[in-house]
Amino acid sequence: MLLPKKYRLGISISVIITMALFILLYNLRRPSPGFLRKMALEMVSPLETAINLPLQGLAEVWNGYIFLVGREADNKRLRERNSQLLGELVKYREGYNEALRLQKIVKLRDSLPYSTLAARVVGRNPSSIFKMILINRGESDGLRVGLPVMAVPGLVGRILETSWHVSRVLLIIDENSNIDVLLQESRAQGMLQGASASGCNLKYVSKTIDVKAGEVIVSSGLGGIFPKGLPLGVVRSASKKEADLFQRITVAPFVDPAGIEEVLVLLPAPGDSK
């Protein structure tokens, strides 16, 4: 080296500092990237890419983890909110359905030429040999044995027994139930007897009468229990056999006993003691 040894260090450091200062001042005046900077970026770029790739994967995993940590709390909160809303939805749906049913009951009440009393079904015993339901009205509400009970769109049965605040209703599908009825089109008379799960059977209809499936059956008003014209069901099938005196007619009741929740009890006219 041409430089004296004792000055070499100081001069080298000064050169480096001067270079740094020069680059800084030069780039301050000339903001566009210089050759050195471009070259550095070009050289470092592949290295950065090589490091970036695995770190990018790591970053994704990390961000995914952070994301999940945040989402876990969100999920918990949303699940709770969802349960709460579902509960409210069920409540409102139930209320809506009840309103619809009550609307139908009200329509039925308005359509009937009798005074009625609405009651709620509070019990049922479908598995027993008797097909009955329990309603939340009794003698204190003016109910008595034998009063017809209706639901949308037809007759349900009649009151079998009453206490002060509840009454038991014998459904028309009970085998002990016998109602004098008319076929709405042919006006043929018959006896509608309960047949449990299969609905009802219409008895004592002459083979000479042409009965069609789908024909509506209404109460005849005979027997003194049910007023005339209350809808009961439709003919499901009718068959005539040589050996029989009468037709064999199966009837589907209008009202599905399993789905009854509110009913209307037809009240007797004032002064009617029957």
């Binding site: 480096i16 680059i23 800084l24």
Partner: protein, 174 residues
């Protein structure tokens, strides 16, 4: 060759610190590992080799960070000279000293950058002292002992022109 590998290592550290900043702090804070390297170099490398190393590292950081070329090159060079000046006079193995020294250097570096931008480009970066430079200085200060130890155990600066032991033994410890 050893010295070239040190430069390569410095480049990787700069790349890594940018990635780590993005990964952990979404780019808001930079754990300036390159400053740790520069200060560590001040305790281990010779004047010339260390000076060149810090100059190149600073210049690369300028390129990476998009700052004015030469800014970090000059700052790193200044910090290297400071560390080099301090190194024979202190016992640099003490953890509290390393933490405080590095933390202060990081803070001063931030202030220098602010002052530079204010004077040269009329940009007000002063509001970032509290939310960027101070936490950055604390983090770097806290990490410094571990990284100094790591650099030593990886023998980053060995065989690249170390002079520390000779100088320190000549001047003595504080």
């Amino acid at each position: 060759m050893r010295y070239l590998s040190l430069l390569f290592f410095g480049t990787i550290v700069i790349c890594l610190q940018t990635m780590i900043a993005n990964l952990l702090f979404s780019g808001k804070l930079v754990v300036e590992l390159s400053l740790l390297m520069v200060l560590s170099a001040g305790f281990h490398l010779t004047w010339v080799k260390g000076g060149i190393f810090c100059f190149i590292t600073g210049f690369l950081l300028d390129c990476f960070m998009g700052s004015v070329s030469g800014l970090f090159a000059l700052i790193y060079l200044a910090f290297f000279l400071l560390a080099k000046f301090v190194s024979p006079r202190v016992y640099a193995e003490k953890i509290p000293f390393i933490m405080i020294f590095v933390g202060l250097c990081s803070l001063v570096e931030g202030l220098l950058v602010i002052v530079f931008y204010r004077l040269a480009l009329d940009l007000d970066k002063f509001p970032h002292v509290g939310d960027v430079f101070l936490p950055q200085a604390i983090i770097v200060g806290l990490l410094a002992p571990a990284f100094f130890s790591l650099f030593r155990s990886l023998k980053v600066f060995s065989h690249a022109g170390t002079t520390r032991s000779a100088e320190r033994s000549a001047i003595g410890r504080i």
